[in-house]
Structure formats: C-alpha cells, structure tokens
Symmetry: C2
Subunit: 203 residues, 2 copies
C-alpha cells in the first residue's frame, strides 16, 4: 500500500492528519504539486481527475478522494472512531463534515483559486469577482458555526472527528486565501486552538 | 419522525429516492421552496443554514444535509446497502459519490444559480461568467465519467448505490441549468436510462 501525497495542499493534509489520529503509518510517495506533479502521466493513470491524494493498494486497486481514503481506514481500523459511533452519531459527523466542507472549505478554496496570482494556470478562467464573493460567504458561515459550536469541545459533539479535521484545514487554508476569522468568534477560536494543539495537526 | 421536504430541488429528491430504494416511509412535511418557505422561521430554527431537507426525530433531534440523513437510514436499515459493503466497497461508493458531487452536481448547481433569472434573489451576487464557466467543467467530467463507467452497470460498480442517485439528480438538474449531455457519451446514456427506469426515480 502506498499513498501519493501532495504536501501542504488541504486534501492531502486531511488524510495525513486522519492517519496520525488513527496511529496508522502508510508509506508516502511525495508529489510536488507546485511543479504540477499531480498532472504527470503517472498520477493521471491512477486518477483521471489528476488530484491528490491517491491511495494504491498492494493489488493495484486505487482509491481517490480524501474522505473516501479516510473512510477506508476507518472501516479497517474502527478505533478511535473518527466518523462517529452509532446511527445518530455517524449521521451527525456526516452532517457536520458536510457543513464544514460545503459552507467553509469550498468557499475558502474558491477565494484562493480565483484570486491568488499563483493559481492563474490552475483555475481557468480565474474570476476575481467570484473569488471575492466567497470571502463574505465563508465569514458568514464562521459566525453561524460559532453560535452552533457553543461550549461543546468538538465540531460534531463530545468527540473529535473528521469534521474537526476538515474544519481545521479549512481555517488554515484561510491564510493564503486572505480571509480572517472574525475576532468575536470566541468559540471557534477556542476550538481551533484545541485542535491545532493536537500532535496530528503537524502531520 | 418527520422529513421537511423541498419538492423538486435536487437534495430533497436525493433523500426521497434513497428512502424509496430502501422501502422506508417517512411522513413528509412539504415546504414550498419557490415561495422561499425554507427561509421561514420554523425551518431556520431547525436548520440555521435554511436548507432542505431536514429530518426531525421524535425526541426533537434534528439532522440536516441530505447525505447525512441518508446515512442515518442506512445505519438503521442496512439492506439493501446503498453506501457499499465491506471496507473497500464502502470506500469506493464514497469515492464515486464525491466524484459525482464535486465534479458534476456542484458545477450544474453553480451554472443554474448563477445564470437562471429565477435565481437572482437566491444567489447574490449572481455572476454570469462563473455560471458559464461551470458548463464546460460539467461536460468535461461527463466525458471522463463515460470512459470510467465502461460497461459496468452502476456508478461505483456492480451494485446500485447513493452515487447513482447523486449522478441521476445531477443529470436531471442539467435541464434547468441548460447543460446538454454530449451525444457520444453512450455509457452515461445507457446507465442514465437504467437508473431513470427504476420506480425510485419518480419519488
């Protein structure tokens, strides 16, 4: 088994953090995305969408999509449960995982890809107006998230989950996307500091 | 238990089709989205994101996000398995579910919301250039999907899954978004006709 890894990009990082939380070690094959290594024929043959990460099993089976790769490891190594426990717990993690992704991660990604000069060849056409339109959308969700988070420790409830990983990488991604976490979002700040302090955050 | 339903919109439909495939009946509370019923205080109290569908359990617990609601029912009623079987099978369904969503459904949604005159008050700012940019992205993915689908019966393999539901609602949504399935995508056409012929497609 080997994991074609994309360094600092959000989705490769999501899988590495997940594996660190699980205590699973998978041999990494580093791919230099800044040199467009993910568009090389070797990667395209594994993933026609030319995105990372890509997990290749020993029999040649290929899995792509970071959350799908995470779910594969969750099924093989259920503890600690990062996709929730029980019918309601699993649904609540999925709900929050999707909320963080569809309302924050995507907006931050659009802002980055449609505004940052380094993305000009990645995102064609680059539409500045669309990039800018995503910044207030992200901030609006962060305020909503702050109210919803309340005083519970983690995104989906009492336990750390993949929803926390997605939330953390989205907020880290706000830096290159030039979006600021509103000062008054105290619950988000407290939560973010706690998840950033876990050893997995360095993965 | 009751399901606040949003009629013809893609996500409410996704859950109704899923329930039909499972043979589960849940009392529906119809909400008229064309009259912005999803922004009414009653819905906002249940889902601060003001989106449908919303599942309310008998104890008042609320689940939102169509895929999270589907997963809840999958956990309670595992057969027929619509999220895959076994570690690899579940990961493959998740991979294809995400591929259909991130590379097709989202693009179709952006094209619809950023171009259709009826969406002017829903999507602010409405950016025509971004809507138009999504049409070729959707078509490009459909060509890739056509190659990947080959002669297997369903999106993720030999069994019908939530990835087929997501794919079908995305393609149906192409009509109001004014995106055409390329004539030469014969595998996609054959698959689409097969999933549309299932009784669940009418749900």
């Amino acid at each position: 088994m080997k994991l074609y890894d994309g360094g600092r990009a959000p989705n490769p990082r999501r899988v590495r953090i997940f594996l660190a939380e699980k205590g699973i070690e998978v041999p990494l094959v580093p791919v230099d995305m800044t040199a467009l290594g993910h568009k090389a024929p070797e990667i395209q043959q594994l993933n026609p969408l030319m995105r990372l990460p890509v997990l290749e099993l020993d029999d040649g089976t290929v899995l792509t999509e970071s959350v799908a790769i995470c779910r594969y490891f969750e099924e093989l190594n259920p503890e600690p449960a990062l996709f929730g426990k029980g019918a309601l717990g699993r649904a609540q993690v999925e709900m929050w995982q999707r909320r963080m992704e569809i309302n924050l991660m995507m907006q931050v990604g659009h802002a980055f890809r449609h505004i940052h000069p380094a993305m000009k060849e990645w995102e064609v056409p680059q539409i500045t107006e669309w990039g800018e339109a995503n910044k207030p959308k992200a901030v609006e969700f962060l305020r909503l998230f702050d109210r919803e988070l309340g005083d519970r420790p983690f995104v989906a409830g009492e336990e750390y989950s993949i929803a926390d990983i997605t939330g953390m990488i989205a907020i880290d991604f706000m830096k290159p996307a030039r979006i600021e976490l509103p000062q008054e979002c105290a619950n988000v700040r407290r939560w973010y500091e706690a998840v950033k302090a876990r050893p997995s955050a360095e993965a």
